[in-house]
Symmetry: C2
Subunit: 234 residues, 2 copies
DNA sequence: GACTTGAGTTGGTTA
DNA sequence: TAACCAAGTCAAGTC
């Protein structure tokens, strides 16, 4: 990892054109030559970058090109994508630091607990969709992809459940496609749809109700708590 | 911007739990205290991070807590979100570098040319949807949001155009909703739908054709070229 | 390898 | 401010 702190400007040409005026910034060049430009602004997204695989060249500015109006840059780095025509060129006016560190391999991030957990918890606490409900299976396969949860309610009616962390319109569309398909199967029809999420946008809620789906808000902490409690019984 | 290079491990607790085993990494702490942990892996996304607004504390490890089995960490940094319960704790075993640079304000990125351009070009070259076509307007307003382009073909039939850089299934669904709505208006009906994009996924193409929509591939460079040429006439 | 879906998404625009 | 939508999205899993 090469770490540069410098007054610099930059030009990106690829899927779009973007330019950075002169300012003091931090530049990271990774082992795979991918290049990131950071300022104090924004979240983790760099102002500008070039993804690997790419080639990085240090260009010493040609003194013959000197324009008397602008000071000669101290250095120019040009990163060119190996697969596309993307180019990111960084022009350095003053370099405060330029250090390289060998980081070596990284064991990587170990994640625990996302949307998959919501699905697992709801499957194990299936009566949250109504008393007497029974789980058929998670990831119930269909021709157009797996339904998150298939269940049967107290009346014996099949229930297809679409689970999202945040429920938006596209989630309702997805559930619509599943229910349309499932209701063509005489062995399953009629199939109710339930749209379950931690949060549901107002538009999605309206659309879901319009389509005849029930909306179910999931409380992650509460569901986790129930699991923890049930574990304590053993 | 504080730049640290160190052997470190990290624990994140928030919307999920995630941990980083001990390895040599680069840590950036921005002016707003947001903290990013990078390795040579991945693209511009850090392995782990904590977004602003947050508070960062340097903790000198308590020597009384020393576990004879594990070496005492040189330093611990705990970043706590000010608004949520997110916490990111970084434990440093060995620090190779720890420098702070004042970057100052950044003028930010100047972008030029994205999906908006596709829309503008197609509006100006509306005969790409068929000879004799005329533009009604861009961002044609409806109750459920603006249609990208509304036009009239040579036969006088209204045409609703949905434009995407990449055309996926959700884009077809969007166009479906618009056309459904527009076709309820006796002053407009019948309304044809055109799904226009630089690339269209096979599934989206099938769905679009199933819904009776025409698919139109847009060549950005060609459309830009036409514009440039027409500008040269003046 | 192409395609689809989720993300601790992030970021911008508009109601 | 909240909701919706695009992103030079990235990344993981599936076909």
């Amino acid at each position: 990892m090469r770490i540069i702190v410098a007054d610099c400007s930059a030009e990106y040409t690829g899927r779009l054109q973007a330019s950075l005026p002169l300012a003091k910034r931090v530049i990271l060049v990774k082992a795979d030559n991918s290049l990131l430009i950071f300022s104090e602004l924004g979240s983790y997204k760099p102002l500008n970058w070039l993804a690997a695989p790419c080639t990085v060249r240090d260009i010493t500015p040609d003194r013959a090109d000197d324009d008397p109006d602008t000071p000669a840059p101290e250095k120019i780095i040009r990163a060119s994508s190996d697969k596309t025509s993307d180019v990111l060129e960084v022009t350095f006016q003053h370099i405060y630091a330029d250090d390289t560190f060998e980081l070596g391999e990284d064991p990587g991030l170990v994640k625990d607990g996302v949307e998959d957990h919501l699905q697992r918890y709801l499957a194990e606490q299936i009566e949250r969709i109504g008393e007497g409900a029974r789980l058929v299976r998670r990831e119930y396969p269909t021709a157009i992809g797996p339904v998150d949860i298939m269940a049967v309610d107290a009346e014996g009616t099949h229930v297809a459940i679409e689970i999202k962390r945040h429920g938006g319109i596209d989630g309702v569309e997805q559930l619509t496609r599943y229910c349309e398909l499932l209701n063509r199967d005489p062995l399953l029809a009629p199939v109710r749809g339930i749209f379950a999420a931690q949060t549901i946008s107002p538009q999605a809620r309206v659309l879901a109700q319009d389509r005849g789906f029930e909306c179910l808000l999931l409380d992650y902490d509460e569901m986790r708590g129930v699991e923890d409690d049930s574990l304590k019984l053993f």
